[in-house]
C-alpha cells in the first residue's frame, strides 16, 4: 500500500507542479503583454516645447501611469526614418514641415483602468488625440482574468481528485487493518488515538511524494524551458530560480495536506464502532 500511495501522491504532485509552473508562466506572459499595451497621447502642432514638457509632466504624475516617454516632432521624424530604412528617401524635403506630431507614450500600472486614464488625458490642454488599443487591452484583461480564474479552479479540482485517489489507495491499507482498528475501539481507544498513526503515515507519504516529484520537476523544467525558449522568442519564461520557493512550498503543503486528509478520511468509516 505504501508504494502504491507513494506513486499516486507523486503523480498527483507532479501534475500539480506542472500546472503551477504553467500558471506562473501564463501570468508572466499576460503581464508582459499588458506592459506592451501602450497609450499614445498626440500633441497639437502649435504647442511649444515648454507646453509639451508640461503635458508630459502632467501625464507622468497621474496615479495609474507607470512610465511615460515624450517624443518630439524631430525625434518622431528620426524614428520614422529609421523604421523606413532605405525607403526613408521619400521623406526628403519634409524636414521642418509639420506632418508628424509630438507624442507621449504611456504605459499604465493597471490596464483595466485604461479608459479612465484616456478620458483624463484627452481633457489635457494641448492634447490633440489619444490612441488607445482598447480592443487589445480588453482582450488581454479578459485573457489574464480567465487564466487566473481557471488556475484556481483547476488547482481546486486537482486537490479534490488527488484527495479522492489517495483516500481510495489508503483505504485498502486501512481496510486490511480494519480488525485492528475495531479491537482498538473496543478497548477504549479514542478516534484521535487511532487516527493519528494513519495521518502521520499519510503525511510521510505526502512528504516523500513531494521530494520525488519536486526533484523531477526542477530538473525537467530547465530542460523544457530552454527548448521552448529557442522556439518562442517573443516572451520571457519564468526562470527556475524565481519560482523554486513558491513551487516548493506549494507542492510540500499540497503533498502533506493530501496525505493527511486522504488518510484521515479513509479511516472514518472504520471508526464508527
Amino acid at each position: 500500500m505504501t508504494v502504491a500511495s507513494f506513486i499516486t501522491v507523486s503523480c498527483c504532485l507532479f501534475l500539480f507542479g506542472v500546472f503551477l509552473l504553467f500558471t506562473l508562466n501564463m501570468n508572466s506572459i499576460s503581464e508582459q503583454i499588458e506592459s506592451q499595451c501602450e497609450i499614445i497621447a498626440r500633441i497639437d502642432f502649435d504647442v511649444s516645447a515648454q507646453q509639451q514638457q508640461d503635458i508630459y509632466n502632467t501625464i507622468l504624475n497621474l496615479e495609474n501611469v507607470k512610465t511615460a516617454e515624450l517624443e518630439t516632432q524631430e525625434q518622431a521624424l528620426t524614428n520614422f526614418k529609421k523604421e523606413l530604412g532605405d525607403d526613408a528617401v521619400v521623406l526628403e524635403g519634409l524636414e521642418g514641415k509639420r506632418f508628424l506630431r509630438s507624442s507621449v507614450k504611456i504605459s499604465l500600472k493597471d490596464i483595466r483602468k485604461s479608459e479612465e486614464a484616456v478620458k483624463y488625458i484627452q481633457k489635457i490642454n494641448g492634447v490633440a488625440e489619444v490612441e488607445n488599443r482598447q480592443d487589445i487591452v480588453s482582450k488581454v484583461v479578459k485573457f489574464t482574468a480567465a487564466v487566473k480564474k481557471g488556475s484556481v479552479m483547476a488547482m481546486l479540482i486537482l486537490l479534490i481528485i488527488a484527495i479522492f485517489i489517495i483516500q481510495n489507495t489508503i483505504k485498502l491499507s486501512v481496510h486490511a487493518r480494519g480488525k485492528e482498528i475495531q479491537i482498538m475501539k473496543f478497548v477504549g481507544a479514542t478516534d484521535h488515538f487511532i487516527r493519528m498513526p494513519f495521518v502521520i503515515e499519510g503525511v510521510m507519504i505526502g512528504t516523500l511524494g513531494f521530494i520525488a516529484s519536486f526533484v523531477i520537476i526542477t530538473f525537467g523544467y530547465n530542460a523544457v524551458i530552454s527548448s521552448v525558449s529557442s522556439i518562442i522568442r517573443l516572451f520571457d519564461f519564468v526562470p527556475l530560480q524565481a519560482c523554486i520557493t513558491p513551487l516548493g512550498i506549494s507542492m510540500a503543503l499540497f503533498g502533506v495536506l493530501m496525505g493527511a486528509l486522504g488518510s484521515g478520511l479513509s479511516i472514518k468509516r472504520h471508526l464508527k464502532v
Binding site: F186, G188, V273
Partner: protein
Amino acid sequence: MIKFKNVSVVYDKDIIGLDNVSFKIDDGEFVFLVGKTGAGKSSAIKLLTGEIKPTEGDVIVDGIIVNSLKRSKIPYLRRAQGVVFQDFRLLPNKTVYENVAFAMEITGKKKKEIKRKVPKILDIVGLGERAGNYPNEISGGEQQRVSIARALVNSPSLIIADEPTGNLDVETSAEVMSLFEEINKMGTTIVMVTHSEKIVNDMQKRVIQLENGCIVRDEEKGVYNLGI
C-alpha cells in the same frame, strides 16, 4: 450497576432487536444472557458498549446514561469495561505481553505502571511464561486467556463476555470459566452471553433469557433451558 429502562431497539426494515426490555444488574453480579440466535442478546451487549443506541428507553451503566453519551465520550465508557469476544480479537502482530499492554497504553498509562501491572495480570490468567509469544503461537484457550487479561488490565468494574467459550473445547471452557468466576469473586460484574448449556447449569448464576427481543425468564440461580 446496570439498568435497562424500557429499552427497545429497532433496526432498519423494522427488525426488532429488543422490545421494551427492563432489568437491573447489581454490582458484583454474574449474569448469563441466553436465548436463541436473533433473540436480542447481541443488541443488549452492543447497548452496554455504546456501539448502538436504543430506539426508545435508557441504558444506564454506573450512573451514566450510555445512550445520551456523545460519540467522543464512548471510549472512556469502554475503558471502564472489559470486553471478551468469542474470536478473541487479539492483534496478530503483537506479543501476548504487547496485546495486554496495548489496552493500558491507549488510556495513557505510564510505561512504568504498564511494566508493573501486565506481568501480574498475565500471572493471574496463567500466561506468565507466554508473554513473548505471538497469538498464532499459542492455543485457543490461551488466546482467550490473553483476551481476558486484556479485559482485566484496566481494572474494569464490568466485564462483558460475548460467547467467550464458543471456540473452545469442554476442558478449556471449564478453565476459562473458572477464571471468570475468580474475577467475579474479586467484585467485578460479569455479563456473559452464552449458548453453552453445561456452563450455565454448572455455574448456577442468574440467567436472563431473551426471546424475540423480550425477556421471557429472569432467574436468580437459573439453568439453561430455552424450552421454558
